[in-house]
């Protein structure tokens, strides 16, 4: 456990030693900021227009639900931006160690492989949570000027963290297989994207395959979270998914030792 924490700490700090982290944080914050602004101005405009109309026709203005119209689509937006961003975080986790030869230190130190994998996985998750902080500030603005429901926001973030963990476990697994960070990033992105779009295929699949595709789809399980529902089935899906990614990473680094 202590060794897992040591690896976690080192990995998490290492993110911030490289300029990459700041670039990623900058781009992520800029993109999520722009989208937040667009959604917000769209929402304000619609509400304003409606009020004008109501005044003109002397009707009661409609009630606009900020959770439904702004927060929910915004969470989907963050999820999509995460899909593109997370591979750049996970690509270095093992690839860089392989490239620099530091795997020799990790694999010859008295540390179990699982501790290495878990330390790196949770460091990735922690970095993702850091990435999300600016978006939390954006949403806090809504609470200052309006009164959205809090629980759907909370569940949305819980969902994002679960979704992000799943992406990170995919990226982690891919990065165990190559010492080239570019390949690790592209591979991680491709596999994540595949797991995202496989849900779409369910509408074309036959009656037997459709529910399978739907279940596998990494994004299908996010729906409920974005609506304010934390369903144990979805939680279980993401935990199992991440556990599978971690397990495959573990087997992958162990198999490297055996490959002849």
């Amino acid at each position: 456990m202590r060794k897992t924490i040591a690896i976690f700490e080192k990995e998490f700090k290492s993110f911030f030693y490289s300029p990459m982290a700041y670039v990623v944080i900058g781009i992520f914050t800029a993109l999520t900021g722009i989208f937040f602004y667009l959604y917000l101005s769209n929402f304000v405009e619609s509400a304003f227009m409606d009020q004008m109309r109501a005044q003109q026709y002397r009707q009661m203005p409609q009630k606009f639900n900020v959770n439904l119209m702004l927060i929910r689509p915004y969470f989907w937006n963050i999820a999509l931006i995460s899909l593109f961003t997370l591979p750049t975080i996970t690509m270095r986790l093992f690839s860089e160690e392989k490239k620099q030869g530091t795997v020799e230190l990790l694999y010859t130190a008295p540390v179990q492989s699982i501790h290495i994998v878990l330390g790196k996985f949770f460091a990735g998750v922690a970095f993702y949570v850091t990435l999300l902080i600016p978006t939390m500030i954006f949403q806090a603005i809504l609470f200052v000027y309006g009164n959205p429901e809090f629980l759907p926001v909370l569940s949305g973030y819980v969902g994002l963290i679960f979704l992000g963990s799943a992406f990170i476990s995919v990226g982690l697994f891919i990065s165990t297989m190559t010492e080239n960070q570019i390949i690790a990033a592209i591979g991680g992105f491709a596999l994540s994207l595949f797991l995202w779009v496989i849900g779409w295929a369910s509408s074309y699949a036959g009656p037997t395959l459709a529910p399978v595709f739907e279940y596998i789809s990494i994004i299908g399980h996010f729906e409920d979270f974005s609506q304010g529902v934390i369903d144990s089935a979805n939680v279980a899906y993401y935990i199992l998914f991440s556990a599978l990614g971690v397990y495959l990473s573990l087997k992958s680094i162990e198999s490297v030792k055996w490959r002849t």
């Binding site: 040591a6 620099q100 530091t102 230190l105």
Partner: protein, 311 residues
């Protein structure tokens, strides 16, 4: 302390090492000597549990490298050929991280790190970023890392490669100081280096142990060898027949053959240039050139690693 028995390792179809066996007793410094790609790194990687052998066994400190891998890693310090450094960390932070990986208790970490810094003599750079250090200092940081937690066994893979002569001397001195306290295996392809630092040498060539002895015995074995370089005009068979008349010739190597001109080297225990010249001239062959070649230690090492493996 270290017992290596019949280690064999394949990479795909290629055999990297074959039935490597040797022992190292406690407190000894043993050199693993061999040309590049001889199997030194493979042997070391197996001993440090980086990868398993295809067959054979080894124990380190009485622990089996396969079944008790965690115990082996606990008592072993390892410096790979490229020091495994996180270049964006500060020296001290890096050593503290490695100490944690090695399971040093929290209250002992600072003491252990200080001790390793002192042993490797890197006090001046302890708060600098590793990536900004010179090659020599990086090597020392790698060395400090391997000495953390006072390992019983230390394994160095080519610890002086790429360093300047002054740094090489310093690193050798440092390794010599480990004697007695630690059991050390170091690999090198430089004979004098091994001669200066090690008490015993295991010579590996093409994955096979070709010799195992003290440096003194190895040099004694090499001393007294005289080599004569020859350029002779004539058929190879005739030249060989002519040289048969000369006593004391131990080996004949044809180095280059150009139609009817042979370039060759002949080894013997004493200076036999006169006898060789006479034999060739009497056989009516053309003696174009004869020259004595002073054999260096490296030459003989090369000779040993190529000859014995070819035999």
């Amino acid at each position: 302390m270290i017992e290596v028995k019949d280690l064999t390792r394949y990479y795909g179809q290629k055999k990297a090492i074959s039935n490597v066996s040797f022992n190292v007793s406690k407190g000894e410094i043993v050199g693993l000597l061999g040309p590049n790609a001889a199997g030194k790194t493979t042997t070391m990687r197996i001993l440090t549990c980086f990868m398993p052998p295809t067959s054979g066994t080894a124990t380190v400190g009485g622990f089996d490298i396969f079944d008790q891998s965690m115990d082996v890693r606990r008592i072993t310090g390892y410096l790979p050929e490229n020091p495994p450094l996180y270049t964006d960390l500060i020296v001290e932070d890096y050593l503290r991280f490695v100490a944690k990986l090695k399971g040093v208790e929290r209250n002992r970490i600072n003491g252990e790190v200080d001790l390793a810094i002192q042993k490797a003599n890197i006090g001046d750079v302890r708060s600098r970023v590793i990536g900004k250090l010179s090659k020599g200092f990086k090597q020392r940081v790698g060395l400090a890392q391997s000495l953390l937690n006072n390992p019983q066994v230390v394994i160095f893979d080519e610890p002086t490669v790429g360093l300047d002569p002054k740094q090489i001397i310093e690193i050798r001195e440092l390794i010599r100081n480990l004697k007695g306290e630690h059991t050390v295996i170091l690999s090198s392809h430089i004979l004098p280096e091994v001669e200066q630092t090690c008490e015993r040498v295991v010579i590996i060539s093409e994955g096979v142990v070709v010799a195992e002895d003290t440096p003194e015995n190895l040099t004694a074995r090499m001393r007294g060898v005289e080599r004569v370089l020859l350029e002779v005009e004539g058929a190879e068979k005739d030249v060989r027949d002519a040289l048969k008349k000369v006593k004391d010739i131990s080996t004949i190597n044809i180095e280059k053959q150009n139609v009817n001109i042979l370039k060759m080297s002949v080894e013997s225990q004493s200076d036999i240039r006169k006898e060789i010249a006479r034999a060739i001239v009497e056989s009516k062959l053309g003696l174009l050139e004869i020259q004595s070649d002073k054999v260096t230690l490296e030459d003989i090492f090369l000779d040993l690693t190529t000859k014995e493996e070819g035999a």
